[in-house]
Symmetry: C2
Subunit: 316 residues, 2 copies
Amino acid sequence: MADLVQLVEDFLAGGKRIRPTLTFLGWRAAGGEGDETAVLRVAASLEMFHSFALIHDDIMDDSDTRRGRPTIHRILAGRSPGERAEKFGIGAAVLLGDLVFTWSDQLLHTASLTRAQTEAVLPLVTEMRTEVMLGQYLDLRATGELTDDVEATLTVNRYKTAKYTVERPLHVGAALAGAGPDVLAACTAYALPLGEAFQLRDDLLGVYGDVRDTGKSRLDDLRSGKNTTLVALALRAGTPAQTARLRALLGDPALDEDGAEEVRAILAATGARDTIEHMIGDRRRQALRALDGAPFTPAAATALEHLAATATRRTS
Amino acid sequence: MADLVQLVEDFLAGGKRIRPTLTFLGWRAAGGEGDETAVLRVAASLEMFHSFALIHDDIMDDSDTRRGRPTIHRILAGRSPGERAEKFGIGAAVLLGDLVFTWSDQLLHTASLTRAQTEAVLPLVTEMRTEVMLGQYLDLRATGELTDDVEATLTVNRYKTAKYTVERPLHVGAALAGAGPDVLAACTAYALPLGEAFQLRDDLLGVYGDVRDTGKSRLDDLRSGKNTTLVALALRAGTPAQTARLRALLGDPALDEDGAEEVRAILAATGARDTIEHMIGDRRRQALRALDGAPFTPAAATALEHLAATATRRTS
C-alpha cells in the first residue's frame, strides 16, 4: 500500500499542472477572489484525475516512458518477477489508476463547496470525464488504422484535448466563481482553438521532440501507429511512394531510430510538418482574439494571454 | 458509442443485484420510508460501480466468461480483427470500465440528496471504493503465489467481499435514512460474517459450481491460481503428495477438465471442502445472531434473515 502511494506521489511530481492552472485562472477570470481553499482543492482533483487518465492511457497505448520515467505498468511489471510480470503490471496499473480516480473524486467531495457550487461544478466534471473517455475510445479505435481523414483526427483532438485540457478546467474554475453563460461562452471561444493548438504541438513533439525535454520516447507514437493530424496530413499530401513507406513504417512495434528518421523526413517533405506549424499559429491567434473583449478580469486575461503563447510554443 | 452503451446494458441485465438490495434494506432497517427516489438512485449507483469493478477484475484475472457470456474484454477483442485484437480488447475494456465508473458517480451526484445525506453517504462511498480496490490489489498480488496462509486469504475476503458486498451497501442505505452509530454497528455485526460466508460460497462455486447456474467458467479460478481460502486450507491440511499435485496443477493456464477434476478430488480429500462448508455455516449463524436485538425495523430484519440463507446456500 505505502509503495503504491509513493508511486503516485512520484508520478504527480512530474506534471506540467496545466489543468489546475486553468481551473484557478477560470476562477480568477470570472471574478473569484478571497478564500482559495475550495478552488485549489477542485484544481488538485482535476490534476489527480489527469494522473488516472495517463496511467490508463499508457496501458492502452502500450507506452514505455512518461515524464522521463518508465510508465506505471512497466514499473509494476518490474516488481513481479517471473512470467506473469507483464500481466501483473497491467492489472496492477489498471487498479492503481482506479484508486487515483477514487482519490480525485474524494478531493472533489471534500472541497467544502456550497450547494450552488456543487450544482454548477459536478455536471461539468461529469461532462469532462465522459468527453475525455470517449475521445480516448475514438483514438484507440483509430490507432493502427491509418487514414488521411484529417477532420476525424481533429474531432478526436477536440474531445480528447481541447475540451478536456483547456475548456473544461476553465469552466470548472469559472463555475466555482458563479460564472454566467457569457463568461462560460468566452472561456470556450478561447479554449477550443488553444486546446487544438496544444494537441497539434504535442503531436509534433511526439515525433520531433527531445526526450530530455518531453520525458516521452519519440518512438512510442510512431510504433503504435497513432493516427495524428500530422500523419493524416502527410497521407493526404504525400506521393504514392511516400504514403506507402509511411504505411510500412508506422505501427511497426520494432521500428528503430533509422526508421523513425525516415518517417520524420517524409512528414517534413510532404509539407505536413509545416502545415501543422501554420495550424498552430492560426489557432493561437484565434485564441488571443477571443480574449479581446472577453468579460474576464484584466489580470486573468493577461495570464491567459501568456499561457496561449507558452502552451503552443513549448518544447516539453 | 451506442454499441458501448448496449454492451453495458446487456452486462447490467445479468447481475444478482445483491448490493442495491442491501442498500435498500439498510435504508428500511434504519427506518427509511416514504419517497424512495434517492435511495433507489444511490442503490443503482452501487450496482453500476460493481459493473465497473467486474469489468476491470475480469481483465486482471484474465477471465473468459462472466454472467454466462464472454467477458467484456473478450467481446471487444472480437470486434477488432487482426493481430491487435487482444490489446484492443483490453484497452477498450479498461476504458469502458472507466466510463461505467463515471456513470456510477453521475447517478450518485444526481440523486438529489439533502446536505445531511450527502455528508453521511459520500465518505462511506469513498471508503467502499478504496477498500475493494485495495482488496483486489492484495488478491492480484497473491494470485499465482500459492500459500497455506488461511488468515491472509480471509483478510482479502474481508476487504474485497465482506465489507464491499454487504457492510458498505447496508451502511450507505442506513446513512441515507439518518442512521446513528448503533444502527451502523449492528449492520457491521451482521454484514461481516455474512459477507465472508458469501465469498467462501463463491470460492466453492468457482471450483464445484455448475456453469449453467453461475455463468462463470469453473476453470478460470484454477487456471489463474487464485489463492482462495479453500486452496489455502488444502495446502495446510494436505499430505506432501497432495500439496505437490495442487501446486503443479493450480495456475496452469492450460489446465483441462481432467486436471480440474483431480484438483476437486484433492480439495475434497484434504477435508478443505468440508471445512469451508462448516465455516459458511458458522458465519451464517453468527450473522443471524447479530440480527437478534439489532435496532432494525422488524420487516427489514426479516428480509435480512432470508437474505442470509439465500446468499450462503445459493448455487449461482
